[in-house]
Symmetry: C2
């Protein structure tokens, strides 16, 4: 039966980010429901954030549509043009290629969860807007660079005047 | 801000099915959140079912992955191999091309809602397993045929021994 047994979806912690950013993801975990169901066209994850945790660096995708719905607790959505408080049932979506860096932050005292859906594309670029880093995704391979495309070799200041 | 205002997502009733099946969808309505947000790679809809309503004919997609999460109320998921009772938070998913006809039915006395995500593909075939009909989807065009591919011209009995 395609009804999913969420208790059997592995809980994944850790981060694909290099340090020092990986350590900033402490308190975040995810369950990959789409993979559990054998879906290949889009990913469906439930992200759990402990109090104080963040879901990601603030980012946007070049080729991947994203959709999120808050399931539990209270989350703050942080974007280029401000912040929005979100409750269970609240939804947000980001069209591929729109350069609006976004992330969820749990500023509450309780655990929070959200569902996130993203297209699985063979080639993508994800740009982090608060740090000088982006990742080039090709199949299962992630290659981190600075915004100017040169190899990433540790944190450095963003160029003044923009990112 | 990409936070969606669900109160502004148009509520759509009616059905693309020909009669007599369209009338069987009374009590079903949908909100197209993905389109409201400008997403093009997958659709995200919230389907509302009044007591007694069904979400669709029982069906499966040839080329489109599907994912659903119950948001409110109680729903019954009906599939080839039986039924599952589903509560808010319960999820189900169907990989493209797996011939397992499925639909949600609201057998409760209260309104129920679920979120459904499906890949937007240019060409698809959706097969209805309880009636002799399938639909060939090409862009925005729907062409209904019998299971044998001949033009649909009204309900007829399923061939004995299978569909």
């Amino acid at each position: 039966m395609p009804k999913l047994d969420l208790s059997k979806a592995p809980v994944k912690t850790g981060s694909v980010y290099p340090e020092p950013y990986a350590s900033q993801m402490v308190g975040r975990s995810s369950q990959r429901l789409g993979e559990q169901a054998g879906l290949t066209q889009f990913g469906v994850n439930i992200i759990t954030l402990e109090p104080g945790a963040v879901a990601s660096l603030r980012h946007w995708h070049l080729r991947e549509d994203e959709f999120a719905m808050v399931l539990e607790g209270a989350l703050t959505l942080v974007e280029d043009d401000g912040e929005a408080e979100m409750q269970p049932g609240d939804c947000a979506a980001w069209k591929a290629g729109v350069a609006n860096g976004h992330r969820f932050v749990n500023r509450s005292e309780a655990l929070a969860r959200f569902l996130v859906v993203g297209t699985k594309v063979e080639e993508d670029v994800c740009t982090y807007v608060d740090v000088d880093m982006k990742v080039h995704i090709s199949g299962a391979q992630n290659t981190f660079t600075y915004h100017d495309g040169s190899d990433w070799a540790g944190p450095r200041d963003l160029p003044s005047g923009g990112n």
